[in-house]
């Protein structure tokens, strides 16, 4: 009945590890399991090629704690995702993207979900392996030939000798009562060493050390400086053989690649000789007339009105009184730092020379920025033309109207 060979060791025959019974159908092993369970054994197990339905109950296996571990892992993943996204995008380096809040909860939900599942899933596998004591490289049952069918088509029941209720003869009789296909004694495994083979230990140590190398390199790169350029394999057009500004060029005595233009050099179109037109100055004083060549016609007036509307009304308002939207908003905020825009229709401005007005538009004054870069010179004069018309309109009296128009009021 027993076909286990006795290993020849110095210490004599190996002690009994347990008794193995083999069955051919799930029904048989269920019945046998119930019997062993009811007999009060605790150190025993069944081995089947697939999970037999009902064997948990037949063996008295309690529900595993695994689902709770997985739940905990999932919640950890969730917390990690929330913390990660909040900390990186809202705390450490907050930056606006398409107007979304720094901590955009709707946008964070997908990753919250993914990390929950990731942590839970990996934990499921790892916890299952740990709880199952896997990997389990060697077991005395491996030396039993027939046991190889436990992963094929046979069902085995094994009672360990270490069980307090174990008795070599009684237990065997009990098992025989379940009508197994075969019964055999299984001896302890004396041959297979307990410790891991030295080669594997070396291998694991080397792998662990080797896997730390990339991190060490990264740390070195992070905390040291280097004069050599970074490794750059795909060159594309990154390094071009030309001189860029701020670089050295040994050809020139001053060593600079940037050349300074000769004095008196003027770019094409940049020779703004006409003081009157370009600077609003007439013989050193503010010009009181529009520049020669300036046509004060309807077209220019319309242009001026349009440009006034674009550039001036946000602060000065459509009526030029200084009540534009920007000003209203600033007053609403009431932060105490706002100087209201000038009322362009007041006497002081009406009496100001056009050249001085031109200068204000071009170069700014107090809180008003310089508009010279945005508004071409001729447009600035057009704006001033319109402004004069606006002022005249605001300062109009009844006397300025035609008699026919007076009655309409």
């Amino acid at each position: 009945m027993s076909d286990a060979h006795e290993p020849k060791t110095e210490t004599g025959p190996a002690p009994l590890h347990g008794i193995l019974a083999e069955y051919a159908t799930p029904g048989e092993i269920l019945a046998a399991s119930r019997k062993i369970r009811d007999a009060g054994f605790s150190r025993w197990d069944t081995y089947t090629p697939f999970p037999v339905h009902g064997i948990d109950k037949a063996m008295g296996i309690r529900m595993t704690v695994l689902p709770w571990i997985v739940l905990g892992a999932g919640l950890t993943g969730l917390a990690t995702a929330i913390l990660l996204q909040w900390w990186t995008n809202a705390w450490d380096y907050p930056w606006l993207i398409s107007g979304k809040p720094f901590w955009s909860i709707p946008a964070n939900v997908p990753i919250m979900f993914e990390l929950t599942v990731l942590f839970a899933g990996i934990t499921t596998l790892v916890a299952m392996l740990v709880l199952n004591n896997l990997p389990f490289p060697s077991h005395p049952l491996d030396h039993v030939r027939r046991f190889a069918r436990s992963t094929d088509d046979r069902f085995f029941l094994f009672v360990e000798a270490a069980d307090p209720k174990f008795d070599e003869d009684d237990t065997k009789t009990l098992l025989e009562g379940t009508h197994p296909h075969a019964i055999e004694n299984v001896l302890e495994d004396r041959k297979t060493p307990d410790a891991l083979p030295v080669g594997i230990i070396y291998g694991l140590v080397i792998m662990t050390v080797a896997s730390a190398v990339p991190f060490a390199l990264a740390a070195k790169a992070r905390f040291t400086t280097s004069r050599s350029p970074r490794i750059h394999i795909i060159q594309d057009m990154d390094s071009q053989p030309k001189y860029k500004a701020q670089r050295e060029n040994p050809v020139f005595p001053d060593g600079r690649a940037t050349r300074v233009p000769d004095p008196e050099t003027v770019a094409v179109g940049e020779l703004h000789e006409d003081d009157h037109f370009y600077r609003g100055k007439d013989n050193g004083a503010w010009a009181r007339t529009f520049p020669p060549g300036f046509r004060a016609d309807e077209l220019t007036m319309e242009r001026g009105q349009q440009r006034f509307g674009i550039y001036c009304t946000p602060c000065h308002g459509f009526g030029g009184e200084g009540n534009g939207m920007v000003s209203k908003r600033a007053e609403e905020l009431a932060q105490g730092t706002w100087t209201p825009p000038t009322n362009l229709t007041e006497a002081r401005i009406r009496n100001m020379p056009v050249g001085e007005l031109f200068n204000t538009i071009s170069n700014g004054i107090r809180n008003m920025p310089a508009y010279g870069a945005q508004i071409p010179t001729s447009d600035r004069w057009a704006i001033i033309l319109y402004l004069r018309a606006l002022e005249r309109g605001r300062a109009a009296t009844l006397a300025d109207l035609e008699p026919a128009e007076r009655t309409g009021l």
Binding site: G99, P106, A107, V109
Partner: protein
């Protein structure tokens, strides 16, 4: 909202005598003769069970129908006192109606689905689904307070019903090819017509099977399920669009049909569980419906809590993200003022809390706990529908009125009354379905 499950006895006409004699092994046997008012007993797979409501059904019908009439009447009376021509009332009514529609359409969907996949586990439960699906004609009638104003051209709920408004508004005019009174009526008739025919077919075939046990019945129910499901999907989508989405005729979402569908599935599972529990409390189907069935129904409910959240979140997040004003306006209204609190209530109450509540297998197998969650889910669906509809009229904050609650109560009682009436005289379980024994014996994972 919670539905009352109580009823005094009421005679419901001539009782049906016990049916056919002993049948082969796996088929249930009926007792030889049945006294007038008692429920029939049936021997199924080795045990006997009461499978008819009998007097209890009549009693339930009376109570539920009475409650429905009183509640709806009171609601209408309160609505009249608003003095706005029932405008505010009809919005509250629409919310209750949406929940009632979700339950009934959900039941029909569930029945079609079980037949489509030839499910075995649900056979014991299926008749209950068929009974609730049979409320379709009733639901069609109950839609009158919503349909009549449209036919009369009154913008009580739907601004597109007002022809003058449509003529003057460019966007409404564009949609008027679809959103007009006549087409709306035709569609509603089609929806309820189709649904009624389908519900009658399933209940009828199933009942015929009780009598004849013919082998051609199950295949015929299976075969029609494919095409039926296709048309059902379209009719449900457009019904949701017509009744609920078009309350704000300027807004649109391709996901809306799916969103309403998620609520339908939640409602049907909650309703089935509660209905079966009530029936078992009255001593019927005591052994036929087991913890396994409740577990499975609970699992589907759990899955659809997640599905609802998924659909709702997708719809919201995509519109939030792209930030296009014509789409965000709808959500903006539903987050403004007091409505924001309702929205957050839905996030936590409709998803997070029931997710953890229904996660455990023990809860799904425990009657008390599961019943609590079913009532809870129905309440949450009501809040969801409320949040969908009411901000169009109560823009600043929710202003829940008694007439809203009464309308919902009345409508749901009407559904219970309808189902009770259908059930009263006949079997609560498809006794001759060849898959019944598997259903009675099945075990969960």
């Amino acid at each position: 909202m919670a539905t009352a499950k109580k009823g005094p006895t009421k005679k419901t006409g001539s009782a049906k005598k016990g049916g056919s004699e002993a049948t082969p092994d796996s088929q249930p046997k009926q007792s030889a003769s049945v006294p007038d008012d008692a429920a029939a007993k049936v021997e199924i797979a080795g045990f006997s069970d009461k499978i008819r409501l009998g007097n209890e059904g009549g009693a339930l019908f009376a109570k539920a129908a009475g409650l429905a009439v009183i509640a709806l009447g009171a609601s209408a009376a309160l609505g009249a006192t608003q003095g706005d021509g029932f405008r505010r009332w009809s919005h509250g009514y629409l919310v209750g109606y949406a929940v009632a529609l979700a339950i009934t359409a959900g039941s029909l969907f569930w029945v079609i689905l079980q037949n489509l996949v030839n499910a075995r586990w649900s056979v014991a439960v299926r008749r209950m689904g068929e009974l609730f699906a049979a409320n379709m004609p009733l639901l069609g009638v109950l839609s009158l307070p919503l349909v009549l104003p449209v036919m009369m051209g009154s913008p009580l709920i739907y601004e597109w019903a007002d022809k003058a408004k449509v003529a003057s508004d460019h966007l409404l005019h564009h949609k008027s090819g679809y959103l007009n009174a006549n087409f709306f009526l035709i569609r509603m008739l089609f929806y309820f017509g189709f649904w009624t025919v389908l519900a009658r077919f399933y209940l009828g075939s199933s009942r015929r099977q009780d009598e004849t046990g013919g082998p051609e019945i199950v295949p015929s129910m299976n075969r029609i399920s494919g095409p039926a499901m296709i048309v059902f999907a379209l009719t449900l989508t457009f019904c949701a669009v017509d009744l609920i989405m078009s309350v704000d005729a300027r807004w649109f979402s391709t996901m809306f049909g799916v969103y309403f569908f998620a609520s339908c599935v939640l409602c049907v599972h909650a309703t089935l569980i509660l209905a079966l529990m009530w029936v078992q409390k009255k001593g019927r189907l005591a052994k036929s419906i087991t913890a396994e069935h409740y577990h499975d129904l609970g699992k589907m409910m759990f899955a659809f809590v997640i599905f609802w959240a998924y659909v709702g979140f997708s719809q919201f997040m995509l519109i939030w993200y792209a930030n296009i004003p014509e789409e965000t306006a709808w959500f903006k209204l539903r987050f403004a003022g007091g409505w924001g609190n309702v929205a957050w209530t839905l996030v936590f109450g409709h998803f997070v809390i029931p997710f953890f509540g229904l996660l455990s297998r023990h809860i799904k197998r425990s009657r008390t706990a599961l019943a609590f969650w079913c009532f809870y889910i129905l309440a949450m669906v009501y809040i969801d529908m409320y949040w969908l509809v009411l901000p169009s009229i109560d823009a600043d904050a929710p202003n829940v009125q008694a007439m809203d609650i009464l309308a919902a109560l009345g409508l749901l009682s009407a559904l219970v009354a309808g189902a009770a009436r259908e059930a009263g005289k006949k079997n609560l379980i498809p006794t001759k379905d060849p898959r019944l024994s598997q259903s009675l014996a099945f075990e969960n994972i």
